[in-house]
């Protein structure tokens, strides 16, 4: 297989799924697998600006998320998930190449990749 999509579905900080999905995504690029990181459902919160996890006693996910394009991970934030949560594009982190994509566009990506992992 040459390509993979990692579907992020869970909210950040409440569990380790987002950071573990980021680990998987970066590992896949080490062998030049075409890697897509798709943030949908509550995972869209992981892409919001001004995250402050200080009171949780946990490191912020922002640096790890912002680093993904450096590993050639293509990033998407699902439009319908944003709308359901009243998140606007200007609320998102400024990440090079981050694309707000509709369900239809995401379906095309999932159709094209060889496999997908949901976290």
């Amino acid at each position: 297989m040459d390509s993979i999509a990692i579907l992020f579905r869970k909210s950040p900080y409440g569990s380790v799924f987002v950071i573990e999905g980021i680990r998987i995504a970066t590992a896949m690029t080490a062998y030049d697998l075409e890697t897509h990181a798709i943030f949908c459902d509550d995972a869209v919160f992981a892409l919001m600006k001004n995250q402050d996890s200080t009171q949780l006693g946990m490191p912020s996910l922002e640096p790890s998320i912002k680093n993904l394009p450096r590993f050639d991970v293509k990033m998407y934030c699902v439009k319908e998930a944003m709308e359901e949560r009243m998140i606007h594009e200007e609320d998102l982190l400024e990440i090079d190449g981050l694309k707000v994509a509709s369900h239809a566009e995401i379906s095309e990506i999932l159709e094209r990749v060889d496999t997908a992992i949901t976290v």
């Binding site: 297989m1 573990e20 896949m28 697998l33 976290v119």
Partner: protein, 120 residues
Amino acid sequence: MNIAILCMTTPYTFGQTETMLNFIDAAMKKGHEITGVYFYMDGVLNNNKNITPSDKKEKNIATLIKEIVEKGVPVSSCPICAEYRGVKDESLLIDQTSFEGLAYLTELVMDSDRLLAFTI
């Protein structure tokens, strides 16, 4: 078909491990090859030879994993996930399994026709 398996959930709390093992059994009987099983996140808790259900009628996950290893399926666990969960100890691992980093999972994905992930 060559199939890679990723397991991310704990034994007994969720039924995913048992489903995974049933799938592996059925796939191998149909002639498919299981290129490897990778335990990740809480899934590393499956790879423990000391698993002992107190209800003897309950299936022993460790025994079932040992059986697929004996059939030639490579089984490994993420060492970092194991470290976080206090189980990064080779003496705990089911015989003939190992700790392997995420690069190993990437290689499994590259060498397989399909990846099946058991998660929540």
